[in-house]
Symmetry: C2
Subunit: 393 residues, 2 copies
């Protein structure tokens, strides 16, 4: 067998002159190297470079602005830097090589956020164990296209179905899970690690099996950048029609598709909706605009204070919101949940404070979780873990 493999190997080596495949460009540098004490060593070979640094969410759970560390070159031309000990989390970073941003060439794993690719790694042994693929039963992630007559086009969404969905014959409750500005239908399965979180919480018996629908809240798009017929466009977060009511107005198209194509519990008791930042703003609006539709509402660092109050778009979604909110109160709901980091931007933090005040004034119940940190995926993953355990019980 050893000789067989050697021969196969030698045969394949000659591929390298023929193949587009990157078979033989295996980068011998190990980066990131997660050390036993959970410090992390980054390395990149750039012998001719004069300055190399590593930048990213490398300050642990706080993870506000990226931290940038200078790297040091050894005699082989390999630049390196070792972080302090890092707590369990999903981290992302990039290198800056003589002024140019680069993914880590030693790391095959990257996530796109708006137009940038960042390399990623996980420190296990804590909360990030929920973000990791474990040896448990796995649900299915599918990306599907649905007809949105309200937007005059087909649009793409992500659907997580729990393990056993395909053969159980049962109906499942649905969580609609919305992204923030700059995101799309791939945000929650990418940076959000939603599929891993649901698989793991389900295996631990902490959540009910549910379908999770991840929409694209940018109605000017068919799909995430690169996945629509506009091709490999340069992504931008400054898209039109993200906060003008159109997404909320046409959310009925999403529900019609989901309830027509999946075995759902198509009742108020079987529907939850949650979102982060702009998606929290969408969530609040949708749960008011369809006032007797959702029993579970989750706002994660919701961008409630961002829209200036004086100038509202013409959408019916934004008209008479106080009356809509009172109607939502009168119709009843099981859970109105809000998560907020103390270090979020003041506009957001205060917008949520004002909204809670209004709910208090209206005599509406809610749960409020205030955490460390700010407007970060670290918090949003945490909030999903907490919120999802409260659903459909």
């Amino acid at each position: 067998m050893r000789r067989l493999f050697l021969q196969v190997f030698l045969g394949l080596v000659t591929f390298s002159a023929f193949a587009q495949q990157d078979l033989f460009n295996e980068n011998p540098i190990v980066s990131p190297k997660i050390n036993p004490d959970h410090s992390v060593t980054f390395q990149v070979k750039a012998p001719a470079a004069s300055q190399v640094s590593v930048s990213g969410s490398l300050d642990g759970e706080k993870a506000f602005a990226p931290i940038t560390y200078e790297m040091v070159k050894n005699e082989e031309g390999v630049w390196s830097f070792t972080t302090p000990v890092l707590p369990s989390e999903l981290y992302r970073y990039h290198f800056i090589i003589d002024g140019a941003r680069s993914t880590d060439p030693g790391n095959a794993y990257a996530i796109r956020d708006v137009g940038n690719l960042s390399s990623i790694f996980i420190i296990e042994g804590g909360k990030a164990d929920h973000y990791k693929v474990q040896q448990v039963a796995h649900g299915t992630v599918a990306f599907r296209w649905y007809d949105s007559p309200g937007n005059g086009k087909m649009r793409r969404l992500g659907v997580y179905t729990p393990p056993g969905y395909e053969t159980s014959g049962e109906n499942y409750p649905v969580l609609y899970l919305l992204h923030g500005i700059g995101g799309d239908e791939e945000a929650w399965t990418g940076s959000g690690r939603a599929a891993e979180i649901f698989d793991n919480l389900l295996a631990e018996g902490k959540i009910k099996p549910m379908i999770v629908v991840m929409t694209n809240g940018n109605v000017s798009q068919e799909a995430a950048p690169g996945k629509g017929s506009d091709g490999f466009v340069k992504p931008t977060f400054m898209l039109p029609h993200t906060m003008d009511g159109k997404f909320e107005e046409t959310f009925v198209d999403v529900m019609t598709f989901v309830e027509g194509n999946y075995r759902t519990q198509a009742t108020k008791e079987g529907r939850a909706i949650a979102g982060l930042s702009m998606g929290g703003f969408h969530t609040a609006n949708i749960s008011m605009y369809y006032p007797n539709t959702f029993d579970y509402i989750g706002l994660f660092s919701s961008a409630l204070g961002v829209r200036p109050g004086g100038e509202t778009p013409n959408s019916a979604v934004y008209q008479n919101q106080d009356e809509k909110l009172k109607l939502q109160r009168d119709n009843g709901y099981k859970l109105y949940w809000m998560g907020m980091g103390v270090d979020d931007m003041p506009m957001i933090f205060n917008g949520n404070k004002d909204f809670r005040k209004k709910m208090d004034d209206f005599g509406m119940k809610y749960e409020y979780l205030e955490t460390e940190g700010g407007h970060t995926w670290n918090n949003w993953r945490d909030y999903l873990v907490v919120f999802s355990q409260k659903l459909f019980k």
Copy 2:
């Protein structure tokens, strides 16, 4: 509205100090820039760099070894290079900045091949229009986990279901589509653009609607690197048990899952199998080992000559292959199709020649397409377009 957006924008700008999201790191450099004549300009800002080059499949349809071009710096520190006019194709490339490999920081789109990320772009107006998302009905791509008792673990595969599958109530034929060495269950939807190819050929009325199952032929893996419980391992193509018969022996687990979980035409007439390189080797073996199971067999640049004849692993898959092949002949099949590039490596090219000779000697019919180029995704995408139009008709 304009003022509203400005206020929202200014509000959000303050996010940048708080957010991990890369909202405000929009790279102003446009790269790649596809010029009207279909030359392509690459740009990267690296003011402190002393040497920057771009390397990739930039020689058009031939695309053998990567071509590397030196880039030139302007006074703003932006390095650039413009290619010759390029034919319609999917291209990939990377930068080399002072010795370090980098994705293009101006380009959000990358594909992983083994352990390397490459930036990608499409030149439209020809064959690559099949590789692009068009405004047509879209099938669904789902990644699912199936039980493989033969391997003692759950494993992951990709499934493309055609538009309308979910609601039609009909049964569909199945194409099993296998990757090459260094690939995994994500290879055909990544570099292979299989979902786009099937959507587009179907919209043109050129193929029958079919389910496409994309397996992982590396039985030591549960899943593509990063998608299994081994975590974000450093990918390597030198995996154990890729060509020792285990994948073929346990292929029954795949078929059991697919036919138990999808509305399939679970007959010989409703089954096709095809693969590239190592996947072509697997395909030839599987179609012999399950001798009355597949009516359509496709070998794309099949690695038939790679396994040395003298030393075979112990698997029953490799025993008495002449008898197995004759049995396959006697049982009959509708199509045995082979595609091969004239510039493939001699071991592969001659291995296929020997195999065709054997089929001739045994009186077995086949179709053989010899093309320009070699062992490349350019050819494999072409072969899929040709082969898929011959299925289930």
